[in-house]
């Protein structure tokens, strides 16, 4: 072994290099304040290693990026840990960069002859921020997509070259495959290689000028190895422990381990919870203060000036009061950044819209994962799973097309209050026994939930409930319950499957009662027998998928309201909505939303 090492040393001279590296003099002895550079090198090492392994499973295109990250996160063994390490170490790097900058500024390590090395360090800071920005988009989830869109739009307002620069970075006018290939090449190729070159130059210059010792010196000089190295590795271990804490933290609140993955990016579905990563929040907050037309000041000019001032610190440092000025400047700068960050977080915390958006985003993320788990992802991408999912798309369509008149549980389907005045029924639980019981209840039939807000509020159905039903004998009331169960069974609702099976005999009797014109229902409605004189909606298959789709397509059809239709549009007939969209609304209203969301996960997410 010894002779082999000697053989290698003769040919490489590695021992001299190792000795020079390990026995670098530490003036005044090892100290904890010198660890920051090493922790940064360590975090970069983690990023390179975890990044390369993630690369082995990542696929940059708009139909595979989210999908491959989903696969890493939820299907590959240890994927959540690998991704968690990469994600949170990136955040740790940003924090450590600031600590490193503060330490070398306080210790005066930026002054001559170390100016160049300070500028290399500043370049590294900007490269790491660029790595964070490009990496944020790569999972191609709603959050990364919409947040990065803001960033590239800001790039577009750069004077002179903005629009061209933006197009080149995006690989076109819009986000797509080439945005991902470009961001990925930047993130995993161009930027890290530049970082490596600069780190080499940075460390070389650091060694050339030697460590800037903190005065007064505490003790005699010491070698880098092992005293300082031990402090460095302990600090690195603390960083790693902090990263692990962040990865495992969700377990404390019953959530998923690792980093969250939002719903797949959908350019047609705006995302109200879009925010940059926390270390860019100060810029986001800062931009709020620049009125239209002056964003360029807040986004480019002022940050550019700040960067220029930081770059000028070594030159300012020559001046008698320069060092104090630099320290105060950094103090004010970081206090400002801290204040802006707190303002941004506090602002969101007190904004109900944002809180709603976050809850909805979490629900979408959980839904996407469940759909991908259960159904697998079609080649067109996971976003199509959501677009074809009644539970996701149904309420959106309802809010857009139905909620101007109807309500769903008093709201617009997405849980938001409606601006327009309600002028049609509340469809939550439509065709269920409870819903029908309310419709036939003299006390509620004319409430806004049923006919109260419509042109039919003084119609025959209201009249029937208020006069006929109100005067029912107890025996007739029991019959009414039976007829309600019978009509409700026509819908074949999933939620009532067990109930319908249990009451099969009663329901069969109920059908006979309807056929025998008991309770007078079939005086106006048709039930299971063609009846030309029927003028109210058909009770045959009432609330079933086919019935609902036909009704939404054309409520003016003779089978439904005919000419008596209040003012509901003919969504299918007039091509307001596609057949698929109508089916999604119908399925959602009926609660046919396979696969069902486990209640436990939904509540835990909240």
């Amino acid at each position: 072994m010894k002779s082999l090492l000697a053989w290698i040393d003769q040919r490489t001279g590695y021992r001299a290099v190792a000795r020079a590296a390990l026995y670098e003099n530490v003036p005044g002895g090892a100290r904890w304040r010198y660890v920051w550079g090493s922790t940064l090198t360590f975090t970069f090492f983690i990023q390179v290693v975890t990044g390369l392994f993630l690369w082995l499973a990542y696929s940059p295109s708009s139909q595979t990026a989210w999908e491959s990250v989903y696969f890493i996160q939820y299907q590959m063994t240890g994927g959540w840990l690998l991704r968690g390490l990469h994600h949170y170490t990136a955040q740790a790097m940003n924090v450590l960069l600031v600590l490193h900058l503060v330490q070398i500024t306080i210790d005066g390590a930026y002054k001559a002859p170390r100016e160049l090395n300070f500028w290399f360090g500043q370049a590294l800071l900007m490269l790491v921020l660029a790595l964070s920005l490009t990496g944020y988009l790569l999972p191609w989830d709603q959050k990364g997509f919409w947040a990065t869109k803001v960033a590239t739009n800001i790039m577009g307002i750069t004077p002179l070259i903005g629009p061209q620069l933006q197009k080149i970075v995006l690989g076109g006018a819009e986000y797509g495959h080439h945005t991902l290939t470009r961001f990925f090449a930047l993130h995993a190729g161009v930027l890290p290689v530049t970082v490596v070159l600069l780190i080499v130059a940075h460390v070389y210059l650091f060694r050339r000028h030697g460590l800037t010792a903190k005065v007064p010196r505490r003790g005699p000089d010491c070698a880098f190895w092992p005293d300082q190295v031990l402090r460095d590795v302990v600090a690195c271990l603390a960083v790693l422990a902090a990263v692990f804490f962040l990865i495992l933290r969700p377990r404390l609140t019953g959530g998923e381990l690792g980093v969250e993955l939002g719903a797949p990016a959908d350019p047609s579905e705006p995302y109200a919870a879009a925010r940059p990563e926390w270390y860019f929040l100060f810029l986001y907050q800062f931009l709020k203060w620049f009125p239209g037309g002056t964003e360029v000041l807040g986004a480019i000019v002022i940050p550019g000036l700040v960067m220029a001032l930081i770059a000028a610190m070594p030159l300012i440092g020559r001046w008698k009061l320069g060092h104090r000025f630099n320290l105060s400047f950094l103090g004010v700068l970081f206090a400002g950044i801290g204040t802006l960050t707190i303002l941004a977080i506090a602002g969101d915390r007190h904004q109900p819209d944002y809180q709603v958006a976050v809850v909805s985003a979490r629900r979408q993320a959980a839904r996407s994962r469940l759909l991908a788990d259960v159904m697998g992802i079609p080649p067109a991408g996971a976003v199509t799973l959501l677009r074809n999912d009644p539970l996701t798309e149904g309420p959106r369509l309802f809010a857009r097309h139905c909620a101007a008149c109807h309500r769903y549980d008093g709201a617009d389907g997405l849980g938001q209050p409606c601006r327009e005045k309600q002028c049609a029924s509340d469809l939550k639980g439509f065709a269920s026994r409870a819903w029908l019981a309310g419709l036939l209840d003299p006390a509620t039939v004319a409430s806004p939930k049923y006919f109260g807000a419509t042109a039919l509020r003084e119609g025959e159905m209201v009249d029937y409930a208020r006069t006929t039903v109100a005067a029912f004998t107890p025996g007739q009331r029991t019959q009414l319950q039976q007829v309600i169960a019978t009509i409700s069974a026509e819908a074949k609702l999933n939620s009532q499957r067990d109930l319908d099976t249990h009451d099969a005999a009663l329901i069969e009797e109920g059908r006979q009662m309807l056929a025998d014109k008991m309770l007078r229902c079939t005086e106006c409605h048709q039930f299971r027998k063609p009846d030309q004189s029927a003028m109210a909606p058909d009770l045959t298959g009432y609330g079933s998928r086919e019935w609902l789709i036909s009704f939404i397509s054309n409520p003016e059809h003779g089978r439904f309201y005919g000419k008596g239709n209040d003012h509901m549009p003919r969504f299918g007939e007039d091509k307001v909505l596609s057949a698929q969209a109508i089916a999604l609304i119908a399925d959602w209203l009926r609660g046919d939303c396979e696969p069902e969301m486990p209640q436990a996960t939904l509540q835990a997410k909240k």
Partner: protein, 189 residues
């Protein structure tokens, strides 16, 4: 740990007040130990993810409908059919061609061979003039029953026979599986 004392010997740098002693050795061991953990965590996490295919189960080989008996020549000439089934490719699931089989009718029964040559995995062709299967890559040749015909063939075994099931009157279903190449035994992939 062989190198520890060596480094320790060099540890007597001019400015250092501390001589090599138990305390220094402990520091060095601790440093190397922590350093090992720092390196092992990201590399270990990466290798775990990288090796996750090893923990996947091999295909169960469910029966797939291929064709009907009427589509097979009654004289026993082989005919090639694509195998269309649900294909799972990492995150994607879709219906598509997942392979191909040669079917040969023998009275009311059917003989099925996977078209993959067991040598290096090329698709074999049926050569009607020689009444045999022929691999275009390394020139293995196989008889109609799948056995190696030319003893100079580099293939380690004959073509892989698949289990056939006739359902109903004339539906041909095949339990489709792929097998490892380059070995004499038939091992499911």
């Amino acid at each position: 740990m062989n190198s520890l004392p060596q480094i320790a010997n060099h540890g007597l740098s001019p400015g250092c007040a501390c001589a090599y002693d138990r305390r220094t050795f402990f520091k060095q061991a601790l440093t190397l130990g922590i350093g090992g953990v720092l390196g092992a965590v990201p590399i270990g996490a990466g290798l775990t993810v990288l090796s996750s295919p090893l923990r996947q189960k091999s295909g169960r080989g469910e029966a797939v409908f291929i064709s009907t008996l009427d589509n097979l020549p009654a004289d026993g000439t082989p005919r090639k059919f694509p195998v269309v089934a649900v294909w799972i490719d990492a995150w994607n699931r879709f219906e598509g061609p997942i392979g191909a089989v040669y079917l040969r009718r023998i009275d009311r029964s059917v003989h099925a061979l996977n078209v993959v040559c067991p040598h290096t995995g090329c698709f074999v062709d049926y050569a009607a003039d020689r009444d045999s299967y022929f691999c275009p890559c390394h020139h293995s040749s196989f008889g109609l029953d799948g056995a190696i015909r030319d003893p100079r063939s580099p293939a380690p075994r004959g073509l892989d026979e698949l289990v056939v099931e006739i359902r109903g009157q004339n539906q041909v279903w095949v339990k489709f599986q792929n097998f490892r190449c380059g070995v004499p035994q038939k091992i499911v992939v």
